[in-house]
């Protein structure tokens, strides 16, 4: 018999203004190329430096958008654990992330609540920055268990209103 999996973060553990654990990551050419190919994004500005410099006018290849979404998801679920279920994400790209950059993801809880179906949620503002320059902003809402025996992933149809 397997050990039951328990939530690591409940809605009651979360308050407005809480900071998520910061994530710093040194980006390399491998980070960019692996991320682009994982997302099936074959466009050359994500693997060919000459193309990126000469055609895009950037200083190097740069992280693609779908892979940044994957970074944001990882950042959120590192905090929530596996019971956290994303409801929605809004991105705004402001600048590019290049090999040699150390990107830092930081996030804050901006709201919490329980929707009309009883699903708990937390709203987050997340910033991906390099140095003092914001590269991407992301507003996310993630569902969280309201009790030890609650599981947002069990919600379907009318009980899931993201």
């Amino acid at each position: 018999m397997s050990t039951p999996v328990r939530p690591v973060l409940l809605l009651a553990d979360v308050g407005v203004g809480d900071a998520l654990p910061e994530l710093a990551y040194p980006v390399t050419a491998t980070t960019v190329v692996l991320g682009a190919l994982a997302a099936r994004d074959w466009r050359p500005m994500h693997h060919d430096k000459d193309f990126a410099v000469e055609r895009n006018g950037t200083r190097d290849i740069f992280l693609n958008t779908p892979n940044q979404a994957a970074w944001f998801e990882r950042f959120v679920t590192d905090w929530t654990g596996p019971f956290g279920r994303l409801r929605r994400m809004t991105f705004r790209m402001l600048g590019s992330v290049f090999p040699g950059d150390t990107m830092v993801l930081a996030g804050t809880v901006t709201g919490t609540g329980v929707d009309e179906t009883g699903c708990g949620w937390a709203a987050l503002d997340i910033v991906l920055a390099v140095g003092d320059e914001t590269k991407t902003t992301c507003a996310a809402v993630v569902a969280l268990p309201v009790a030890e025996d609650d599981n947002p992933w069990g919600r379907r149809g009318d009980r899931w209103t993201p």
């Binding site: 099936r40 994957a70 998801e73 990882r74 596996p82 992933w153």
Partner: protein
């Protein structure tokens, strides 16, 4: 593409267009490669026992939704595929707005995507504004939804894009 005029817009609102099936079923290899690329250790994607208990079996990371629709770099006998967000390009051409920018991109996640799923996508024009002048030029804002459904017709996700098509010289049809 099609010659869309201002009078055609009302008939396009809310009508799914460019329905397309992903060229391969959702599979775990890409899930693991994606998780590896961002060092995502969420046990939902690595531990089948956790996935069985929490999500009723393996699922794909929700943010991978668009991955399942990017065409192969090459495929035998392939004809030209529709561009992602083809409606955006149709509007630019039809309304004679040569420049365009995309602003916010929102993804709303619905039914979990699972290995073996065959997903279908369609594009739906939600709104087109009256002509407006911004610091970029004169043009129109539009909102396009990309809907993703699984093989049972269940909604898996909706991506919403807001675009602004414009002319630098000030005219807008």
């Amino acid at each position: 593409m099609s010659a869309i005029g201002p009078g055609d817009i009302a008939g396009m609102i809310g009508v799914p267009q460019y329905v397309e099936e992903g060229s391969f079923p959702v599979e775990r290899g890409y899930v693991w490669t994606t998780c590896s690329s961002v060092e995502n250790g969420n046990p939902l994607f690595w531990d089948d026992e956790v996935a069985a208990q929490v999500t009723g079996g393996p699922v794909a990371p929700p943010t991978m939704i668009s991955v399942w629709f990017r065409p192969h770099h090459w495929a035998p006998g392939r004809s030209e595929a529709a561009l992602p967000l083809q409606i955006h390009f149709d509007l630019k051409e039809g309304l004679d707005l040569p420049e365009a920018v995309m602003s916010d991109n929102t993804i709303v996640f619905h039914e979990p995507v699972r290995p073996g799923d065959r997903l279908t996508t369609s594009q739906v024009l939600r709104s087109v504004s009256e002509p407006k002048t911004t610091r970029l030029g004169r043009g129109r804002f539009w909102v396009i939804d990309v809907e993703y459904r699984n093989q049972r017709g269940e909604l898996a996700a909706v991506e919403s894009y807001t675009g602004f098509g414009y002319r630098r010289d000030g005219g807008a049809s």
